[in-house]
């Protein structure tokens, strides 16, 4: 279907089904029950899932295929956000021009940065991208204040020109009148499910993004990028100039990041410089590695995983912990709470850091490799004579 192999079609359909039914899947616990705090089916969080999914999928096109580790990808996200908000300020609150401009501007930005950074590889490339991103961050905070509104962050004011704004146009972000924050709540007994217009738009765009990324992975172009990753020197020796290919990959992944930034601004018309800081770049690296770099589904899994647990872990506090360990004797209960306390609430980053280290050390293929190993182990148990060759890590694509 759509030029995909059967396996890839199934993958795409699974992703489509997951995003379509996400409001149900993420809200498995009835409202008001003790487990309701694990629900993640509210619009704001679901939007973040798919937006960061797009960001990570784009990052994976660069890092997963070519092996170039960029530590400055958040710059494109920030540029995308800024240009989207400018479209809101100048034209109207329609998100379509905003998203299109975000992609174009971040693409141009990526051409410039990529052209310079890709002249080096390895750690030098990482440092160059980091330097560019930090420069953009510093400039957005200081000199570019007329464009970026400095520390306050760029936002839409009532006295902005908004040339396309009719007298009865909506004043919140919308797609030709469909407001992004419009939410339909379905109550089924004790359950309640939120269906949010903004989420479904982002989800649709993510599906297109994933489809494009599958096509890129399967194309001759993608094969060329993989060849660059495995041995760039040999490619050069065969008389091939690899730089146009890596530059194209860099620009595509920059445009994905810009798209994510534009969507972020479309959901909430704000843009601040902190989106460009290198910690934000680090986050997308974490997502991609945690999910599985170089695999198709990995980055989406990683983004969902990190955003979900960030949200859940931050909500757990000592009271909740005391409830969990209530079955233990008092002294032991307090001790368990004391033990777990550093890892929850504000300590979420500690958990994330440890998790990330464990993944890099033991599971370089990320969650996807973990899943494959478990699958292989289960299969191996089922058929004892299964040859070990299948249990070896097969590139998960």
């Amino acid at each position: 279907m759509l030029g995909l192999t059967k396996r890839d079609t199934i993958l795409l359909l699974v992703v489509a089904a997951l995003t379509l039914f996400a409001p149900f899947i993420l809200n498995p616990f009835p409202e008001g029950s003790a487990m309701a705090q694990f629900n993640a089916g509210y619009p704001d969080l679901m939007q973040r899932f798919v937006i960061f999914g797009i960001f990570a999928v784009g990052f994976n096109i660069l890092f997963g295929l070519t092996g170039y580790l960029s530590f400055g990808h958040a710059a494109f996200l920030g540029v995308g956000s800024y240009s989207a908000v400018w479209m809101f300020k100048l034209l109207s609150m329609n998100v379509l021009p905003a998203i299109i401009l975000a992609v174009i501007v971040s693409g141009l930005f990526a051409v410039i940065i990529g052209y310079v950074s890709l002249r080096r590889s390895g750690i030098y490339f990482s440092i160059l991208t980091l330097a560019f991103a930090q420069m953009s961050f510093a400039l957005a905070y200081s000199v570019l204040t007329p464009i970026t509104n400095g520390e306050t962050g760029l936002q839409v004011y009532t006295d902005d020109p908004q040339y396309l704004m009719g007298p009865d146009s909506p004043t919140v972000t919308n797609l030709f009148g469909l407001e992004m924050r419009a939410t339909y709540t379905l109550d089924l007994g004790p359950w309640s499910f939120d269906f949010n217009a903004g989420y479904y738009m982002c989800a649709l765009i993510m599906l297109i993004a994933v489809y494009l990324s599958i096509r890129i992975f399967r194309s001759p172009f993608g094969l060329m990028l993989k060849a660059v990753k495995s041995n760039q020197q040999r490619m050069n020796f065969t008389g091939l100039n690899t730089r146009p290919y890596t530059l194209a990959a860099f620009v595509i992944s920059g445009m994905y990041a810009g798209l994510a930034g534009g969507l972020m601004a479309s959901m909430d018309p704000l843009a601040g410089a902190e989106r460009m800081q290198w910690t934000a770049s680090g986050e997308v690296v974490l997502m991609t590695i945690l999910g599985g770099a170089g695999t198709l589904i990995g980055p989406i899994l990683g983004a969902g995983f990190i955003k979900y647990f960030e949200n859940i872990f931050s909500k757990i506090n000592d009271t909740v912990l005391h409830q969990w360990f209530a079955f233990m004797p008092d002294g032991l209960e307090d001790f368990m709470v004391f033990l777990v306390h550093p890892f929850i609430g504000k300590g979420w980053h500690l958990t994330l850091g440890i998790l990330f280290m464990l993944v890099v050390i033991f599971l370089p293929g990320g969650l996807v490799e973990g899943g494959q190993r478990i699958a292989a182990w289960v299969r191996g148990r089922k058929s004892a004579k299964a040859d070990t060759a299948t249990s070896k890590t097969e590139p998960a694509e």
Binding site: G67, L69, V116, R119, R120, S121, G122, I123, Y124, S126, I127, L128, L130, A131, F132, Q134, M135, A138, L139, Y141, S142, V143, L144, W278, T279, G282, V285, I289, P342, G347, H349, L350, L352, G353, I354, F356, M357, V360, I361, P364
Partner: protein
């Protein structure tokens, strides 16, 4: 003229910190071939060694002084530190006052130990893996260390003072024959610079004039041959990792009075120190030191008002700009050897 000297002096203390961190980074890269993203965290742990010692020294007990009243009319509660009651008020107060310099002694074993644990426990397993993996795992370690510190000390900066006699400023201009108050320079920054020079000199002397240092240098040049000569080069490299950690830690200890330690100070310095290493040339120790001071001074010149008016925002980006230009025109850096990580 006095403005130029002032900017050079201003750049020296930051430059010293860059140089010390970059020196440690280069030592680790040169010996073990590992790109250590957790080095900034070591700097931060050093600064928190100073905080910790200060806290330990000021542990106090409360006595009630019946002869004095507080503003509510109750007997005054007096905080007495144990140190003062053990060593007498004069010596005790002096010990507390000098807690930051004393923390140097305290931090060396701590940092060496942290370095050993890091190298033996984690980084050892990453020698044969690609640089990207090394960057990622040390990046994760940096997050973990930073969060652990945040857990114990909170997110706010903790002011840690220099000893009383170093709190003032030196009127440097008078010494050189300028008007009074033309060049004012705080004593502690001068101390920091001298300290950094001493440490850097010590490291170089150690590498240059001791047998141990000679073996390490030989190992940096050709690890395999040194190993074939029957020398346990791995153990020596581990010790060098400990030394590099101690250098970063000492830089942090002495930096505490200049900038109140907070949990993300390591990351802030790390990014810049990496840029310094790259500018100086990967694997070149003199290059790292030179580039550290050079970029520190350059940064302070860029923050002069005359230059800022000419090129707004230049002080924010000058270091990155220099790094980009250097990387594109001379990828091995100022003093890098040909062929070391040139790609």
């Amino acid at each position: 003229m006095d403005a130029i000297i002032l900017q050079i002096l201003n750049g020296l203390d930051k430059g010293s910190a860059y140089a010390l961190i970059a020196l440690g980074l280069t030592l680790i890269f040169g010996t073990l071939g590992v790109v250590n993203f957790a080095h900034g965290a070591l700097f931060m742990i050093g600064a928190f060694c100073a905080v910790t010692l200060n806290k330990i020294l000021t542990i106090s007990y409360v006595t009630i002084d019946a002869t004095q009243k507080d503003f509510l009319g109750n007997p005054l509660k007096v905080q007495n530190t144990y140190v003062e009651s053990w060593f007498g008020p004069n010596l005790g107060a002096a010990i507390i006052d000098w807690s930051v310099p004393l923390a140097i002694l305290f931090s060396i074993p701590v940092m060496v130990l942290v370095g050993f644990i890091m190298e033996r426990g984690l980084i050892k397993h990453f020698y044969s893996r690609p640089h990207a993996d090394q960057i990622l795992v040390t990046f994760g370690l940096a997050i973990v260390l930073q969060e652990i510190i945040k857990l114990f000390y909170g997110a706010n900066p903790i002011p840690t003072g220099a000893p009383e006699i170093f709190r003032g400023s030196l009127d440097f201009g008078v010494l050189l024959g300028f008007d009074p108050n033309a060049i004012i320079y705080p004593y502690w920054r001068l101390v920091y610079f001298l300290f950094a020079t001493a440490i850097i000199g010590g490291v170089f002397a150690f590498l240059q004039f001791t047998t141990f240092g000679m073996v390490v240098r030989a190992g940096m040049a050709d690890r395999e041959t040194v190993g074939l000569l029957g020398i346990n080069i791995d153990r020596r490299f581990t010790i060098m990792f400990g030394i590099a950690a101690a250098v970063a830690g000492l830089a942090g200890v002495m930096y505490a009075p200049i900038n109140s330690p907070n949990y993300h100070m390591g990351m802030d310095f790390l990014v810049l120190s990496f840029v310094v290493v790259v500018v100086g040339g990967m694997g070149s120790l003199p290059g790292a030191v030179l580039a550290g001071f050079l970029l520190g001074i350059l940064e302070s010149f860029a923050s002069m008002n005359q230059i800022k008016n000419l090129l707004p925002g230049i002080d924010q980006i000058i270091i990155y700009l220099v790094a980009i230009i250097i990387l594109l025109t001379r990828p091995r850096g100022l003093m890098g050897r040909k062929g070391v990580m040139e790609e």
